[in-house]
């Protein structure tokens, strides 16, 4: 019951937002209220327990099942699997941190004891900070959305990535830039951190990836980019 309520609570504002009935300020506010509500651990949705056949693969082999990309080549919903004794399961393995992080962000493995601090950037320049289990964040943001991710950095200390939830019907996205200590990914416990940008409409974009033309144009006015500190 709680899950259905959450799904409705999240979907209705998106529909109303794209129809112009609520604006971005209200949509951000509604989402923040949802994120900061206590849904109870028993309402967390479990990761999709996708298991596929071994198909003769050697045990211990790690391979990718390709999904699709979203807007750019590197933002994808590929899933990494590892061949076990009888079947292949999504990678959740200390030996493969990038693959584990990828699967974690896409909701293919459970968050375990990983928590996340989320800085929610809302209309008006308000940034509110929330702290919750990663499974709770996923349970609140992912229902009804398609998830795509791109791991952007892996070092001996940390892993970083971009996670995008896309509402296909209303063509709106939520975007997270996530940073995690490597240990939090490989050990199944620890604290991650994310910058969250919500309710970004996509249907009025003509070109997202332009670069300034090299052609010389007559300069109209000089612009001083120095501004007084606020």
């Amino acid at each position: 019951m709680k899950k259905i309520f959450l799904l409705i609570a999240l979907t209705l504002p998106l529909m109303a937002y794209s129809a112009g009935k609520v604006d971005k300020a209200q949509a951000d506010s509604i989402l923040f209220a949802l994120l900061s509500s206590d849904m109870g651990e028993d309402a967390f949705s479990h990761a999709e327990k996708a298991v596929i056949g071994r198909d003769g693969r050697k045990r211990g082999t790690v391979f990718v099942v390709e999904g699709e990309n979203f807007q750019i080549k590197s933002l994808r919903n590929d899933v990494y699997y590892i061949a076990g004794r009888n079947e292949c399961v999504p990678v959740d393995d200390a030996r493969y941190p990038m693959e584990t992080m990828n699967n974690l962000l896409l909701g293919k493995i459970d968050g375990g004891q990983r928590d996340i601090t989320v800085h929610h950037h809302q209309y008006g320049g308000h940034n509110a900070t929330l702290f919750m289990p990663f499974d709770e964040l996923r349970s609140k943001l992912q229902p009804g959305m398609k998830a795509y991710c791109s791991i952007t950095a892996v070092t001996t200390e940390k892993i970083e990535g971009v996670l995008v939830y896309h509402d296909v019907t209303n063509n709106v996205i939520h975007m997270l830039q996530i940073s995690s200590p490597l240990l939090a990914v490989t050990s199944g416990q620890g604290e991650m951190e994310a910058e969250l940008y919500t309710n970004i409409p996509q249907d009025n974009i003509r070109n997202l990836f332009g670069v300034e033309d090299e052609l010389n144009s007559p300069v109209v006015n000089p612009v001083n980019l120095k501004s007084k500190k606020r």
């Binding site: 393995d93 200390a94 970004i200 003509r206 010389n216 144009s217 001083n224």
Partner: protein
């Protein structure tokens, strides 16, 4: 003489026993947990199991054995198979160093990391690795893994730098949507806060111009766009008046184009078509127009992006004739930026 020989034998035997005991003590003490688990049966079990495993590897390596002998009471059955498979491909031994490590809690039990090992059939540059060992809640070894090398991710990361650029550009779109929302809400404080103090604001308007004619023939009026420059204060004051007169403002953006500056990081030019509508009221007749809006947005301080340039050019005149074509719209190259 015979007594001396016996005494010598006794001495050698005792010394040998002492040495063996010392060696045994050293091996048992090689690994220990210094943090994360309180002293007790579980800690002892884990330490014993790891030391026993280290001994088994070292012993098998010294004897160049094809198989490593594991104590089945210290491993899960899956872990035994995995270690045997690992040994088949990469026999290893643990260097004679003391290992003190933290014990981590995991969702299924415990984990220790950073146990140094030497891979026997690897080249010198890659022979030293580290083991990660997982345990069940009872302390049985459930998984043994070699920590992954980071460098193999370099190629994948090189392809994914575009994702960071993508994220920056989506933040520009998010800013634009906030910007539009602020006009609809008549949120003057927010609008004022996102304009830089030295913001350049250019607004165009259509005037009718009579072309010069020297032969007395009738000529039709042609459209001409004239541009007015305002500073931030002038613009905000004018906007305040508009907001006071109009309780309903509806601004819509279409055809958003985000262009990155070649010269400066974090400077973006955004071009879009703006549909502006205010409803008739007691104080106002209402007004609608469509025009090209161009913004230069400075994301140097990503928490507080600033609009440094705003230009508006009318798209259509009052009769629906196009007065500004896309190639006439302001763009980044028409402004000389300096810091």
């Amino acid at each position: 003489m015979k007594t001396n020989m016996n005494n010598m034998r006794h001495l050698i035997l005792v010394l040998s026993l002492l040495l063996c005991t010392a060696a045994t003590v050293n091996a048992q003490d090689q690994f220990s947990i210094n943090e994360g688990l309180d002293a007790g049966k579980l800690k002892s079990t884990i330490e014993n199991n790891v030391n026993s495993f280290i001994n088994a590897m070292t012993d098998a390596a010294e004897r160049q054995q094809k198989k490593v002998r594991l104590n089945e009471n210290q491993f899960t059955s899956q872990a035994i198979e995995d270690v045997k498979m690992m040994w088949k491909n990469s026999p290893m031994s643990c260097p004679p160093v003391r290992i003190r490590t933290r014990c981590l809690n995991t969702s299924s039990g415990y984990q220790v990391r950073g146990i140094p090992i030497d891979i026997l059939n690897a080249d010198a540059n890659n022979s030293r690795q580290e083991l990660t060992i997982d345990f069940t809640r009872e302390g049985l070894i459930s998984n043994v893994a070699i920590a992954i090398e980071m460098h193999r991710y370099d190629q994948i990361m090189a392809d994914n730098h575009s994702s960071l650029d993508y994220a920056r550009r989506q933040k520009v779109v998010e800013f634009i949507e906030n910007f539009r929302t602020a006009y609809n809400r008549r949120d003057l404080p927010y609008i004022s806060s996102v304009y830089g103090e030295n913001a350049l604001i250019i607004t165009g308007r259509v005037i009718k111009e009579v072309p010069n004619s020297t032969d007395g023939t009738l000529t039709t009026l042609t459209n001409k766009v004239v541009y007015t420059r305002q500073n931030k204060t002038e613009y905000i004051d004018k906007l305040r008046t508009i907001f006071k007169r109009n309780s309903y403002v509806n601004v819509r953006f279409e055809d958003i184009e985000v262009v990155e500056s070649r010269k400066y990081d974090n400077i973006y030019g955004v071009t879009l078509k703006q549909y502006w509508h205010t409803a008739p009221s007691a104080k106002s007749k209402g007004y609608s127009d469509v025009g090209y809006l161009f913004l230069i947005i400075d994301f140097t301080n990503s928490e507080n992006p600033l609009v440094q340039v705003r230009t508006w050019q009318p798209y259509l005149d009052e009769h629906g004739n196009i007065v500004t074509t896309p190639d006439q719209v302001y763009h980044l190259g028409m402004f000389r930026l300096s810091r």
